[in-house]
Amino acid sequence: MIHNEIQTAAKDPQWLAEAEIISRIISGERELFYALIKPCERAAFLTAYSVVKSEADAEEIVQEAVLKAYKALDRFRGDSKFSTWLVKITLNEARMRLRRSHSESEVSLEVFMDDGDGDYTPAVLTDWREIPSEALHRKELRETLQRAVDQLPEKYREVLILRDVREMNITETAQLLGISEGMVKTRLFRARLLMQKIVAPELVAQGKKG
């Protein structure tokens, strides 16, 4: 009976209230922890990736963050969702990793790119032929988009991935990053125009080739 309950919960973590699941994990039902983290995997991975822009590093960071979350589960107070808490731990872990790996000169470049009025000129096009989502089966297209995101300065990449890839809202993005909503909007505007500037000409060229 208990085994069946765990299996059901493992398939659908919503089956039990989050607090109940967590208290059972702390009591020793470790299997439930896997069910708890499963729905958060992509969010945690994308958050780590937004900082370190390496799939392999992001995967390792998520593993470390999940282990930390497990070990600190008795300190989770439930004033946010578990997924929010795990993503926050992941973000901190990723930033620590980046700071350790960056040379000082690399860090200073990012730090001193201010949020003032830069020249954010988009790529000027005469018209645009829509790229349908079915075209994403082409590796070339996926790689073009991924490379463009990787080229963004860290603070713009973070906001773009949280808001436009993970589809978090402005308030959630601001809370996670610890910045104002106005700052999220400013960085998002620059990130989006930079993406347009990098990607649009490439996609026009790919369209002409194909």
């Binding site: 702390i26 593993q63 645009w128 089966h137």
Partner: protein, 84 residues
Amino acid sequence: MVLDCKHVWREISNYIDGDLDPSVRASVEEHLAHCRHCAAILDSTHNILYLIADERTFSLPIGFGERLRARLESELEKSEPASR
């Protein structure tokens, strides 16, 4: 209010999010109706955001969940679960 192209570019992100005052929105739309460059910039930005939101663009690496579970199992074998 008449907007020039640069002003419209600054508003494109908020326009996409539906986060503009009605009067600014109306001015942006009026500009877009007559400026094919800005209309193409809006369409391409919108299209690119639509493509990056698709799960195929940024998917979890193959075997991610299995490796995460294996790592957890091996680490957790070494330690007891947290207790209150």
